[in-house]
Amino acid sequence: MSKWKIYTPDGVQDILFDECYSKRELENKIRNTFRAYGYYEVETPAIEFFDVFSSEVEHFPQESMVKFFDQKGRILVLRPDITVPVARVTATKNRDVKLPIKYSYIGNVFRFNEVGGGRQNEFTQAGVELLGDYSSESDAEIIAIAINILKTAGLESFQIDIGQVEFFKGLAEEAGFSNEDTVRISKLIDRKDIVGLAEIAGGYEMEDELRKLILKLPGLFGSIEVIKDLKKVTKNSRSIAALENIEEVIGILGDYGFSRYISVDFGMLKGLNYDTGIIFRGFTYGVGFPILSGGRYDNLTSSFGRDCPATGFSLGINMLMTALEKAQMPLEKPNVDSLICYKKANRKNAIEIAEALRKQAMNIETFVLTDEIQQGISYAVSKQIGGVIYIQDSGKITVHDIVNNMTKETSYNELLNK
């Protein structure tokens, strides 16, 4: 009966002391960056109705969601993302709040992923969403926050790839692709599968110049110089507007001083229904997956009943931690400053000192000796606590410096810096 008792389910993990500590530190840095830009934090429930995540705009594959039923037989899911709940909030509870609204969040999300390389079925997502503004400034601000977070986290070499899906949509319109083929073609471009792309595009009559441009899309990535060349050969107004938007966004990021992190990719196409403008992804060495992704999604909130432009990004904290580990960043570790050892008879004295030191913002542990002081010292050594304070009879106090193997006598006042 208890066959699975000692195991955790696939794709979830226990996060223990050191790792948990550095994760919290990282979350705090991220949270402070969010606050610095005026994005207030929200918490949405971990459990939502299935319907929330299966709108026409953002349709999470049914098989990737963790599902169960409530007492009334309605289908519930563990949230696979937090962007969609934020859109729901904007269209419902925050219906009357003046736009723009800026949200941030840090919370766990759940997906049946293939596990490994930093991917888990339960993982922590941190992100921001800016609702109610169409401007390129908003697009750029979101990317600037993402860059700042990677920098604050201590990542040195990373790259933010920016795309603009409207550029492709304009070309697809101009070429007269059917809706079905537009989706198929976008997937082939996103895979950089030129063979497959040429095959489908071959079935359509169009001007040579347009065909050339479409076939070039998988290779249109890298330096921002690409945009200039594209402006010369682009004819339809939708694609031209897309180029102007991405150019402006990159200009603004230049004002932030972030140009060196930026590259472009016009062949980056994810969800054509969901994405409506700028999209971007963050990469670094040593991790095979993007560490963050984001972009504009102006259609999502309307599926909840309020028309409202939107942009945002999210990053996987676990993925970022994998990246930091690969970049050999030293992890911050929890620590205890001193271990106070005493025998029962001196308890009152010991507790008083411990509490006084804790008030001075020190991390203090206590240890009741049933034997000689060596007992406390060996515990301190095993937990890598550098100092042991031994409270002895008639007010005698000794300090044992374990690192330098030194012992000296001290007094109550000296200990508390009085």
Partner: protein, 215 residues
């Protein structure tokens, strides 16, 4: 400079892939020698190679354990990994096909196919669900798939067809072509961006070589 890692499919693709890499000045001599080392390298160009089972190559590349991989389109379709498929190498060409007894020829649209024997369950499932819009029972086999319709294990099979000789000798025919297959070069999505210059140089070099081979 970081090492670029290339995953090669063990088997019939290995020699052809090696030739292409040697053609652009990458030293594969260590790979050719019969050493037992698993990872071999060209120190001058900072490139590492390893040989893997074909079905594992897309996995290594998707996770970034290898930056570049050489593998058949059949494996790419079957594994369904999220990666860049940058180059058709053209060799090892054949096709993925639906095949069955000759008497089914021209009748597949009327036929209610129930059981499909295949080494490629994902390709078969995709084909029936997306292209034919039918539910079928997939029976995963590990070899000699042609046997399945002969002994009544399945009505039809989905398998690679090169010359069609094996099919013919067993009274089977191709009923539909699912996809054209050949060896491909695949690249990890992050590597393509972070090591763009070096990877692009390899892609272009091999593409040029393929062009001159055709002529």
């Amino acid at each position: 400079m970081r090492y670029l890692t290339i995953a090669l499919s063990k088997g019939r693709l290995t020699d052809m892939a090696m030739e292409l890499f040697e053609g652009i000045g990458i030293d594969c001599s260590e790979l050719k020698s019969s050493t037992r080392k698993l990872i071999l390298s060209d120190e001058k160009n900072k490139i590492k190679f390893f040989l893997a089972k074909p079905a594992d190559v897309p996995t290594y590349v998707e996770y970034g354990a290898a930056d570049i991989g050489i593998v058949g389109k059949d494996t790419i379709l079957e594994e369904g990994r999220n990666l860049y498929e940058v180059l058709d190498l053209g060799f090892a060409a054949c096709r993925m096909a639906l095949a069955g007894p000759a008497e089914l020829e021209g009748k597949i649209d009327e036929l209610n196919i129930k059981r499909v024997g295949t080494k490629y369950p994902n390709i078969a499932r995709n084909y029936f669900e997306k292209t034919r819009r039918e539910s079928v029972e997939i029976i995963k086999l590990n070899g000699s798939v042609e046997l399945a319709p002969l002994v009544g294990l399945a009505e039809v099979i989905v398998d690679l067809v090169e010359s069609g000789r094996t099919l013919k000798e067993n009274g089977l025919v191709v009923l539909d072509t699912i996809a054209d297959i050949s060896a491909r070069m695949i690249v990890n999505r992050v590597s393509m961006k972070m090591e763009n210059e070096r990877i692009q140089k390899i892609i272009n070099g091999i593409a040029d070589q393929l062009k001159s081979m055709k002529r």
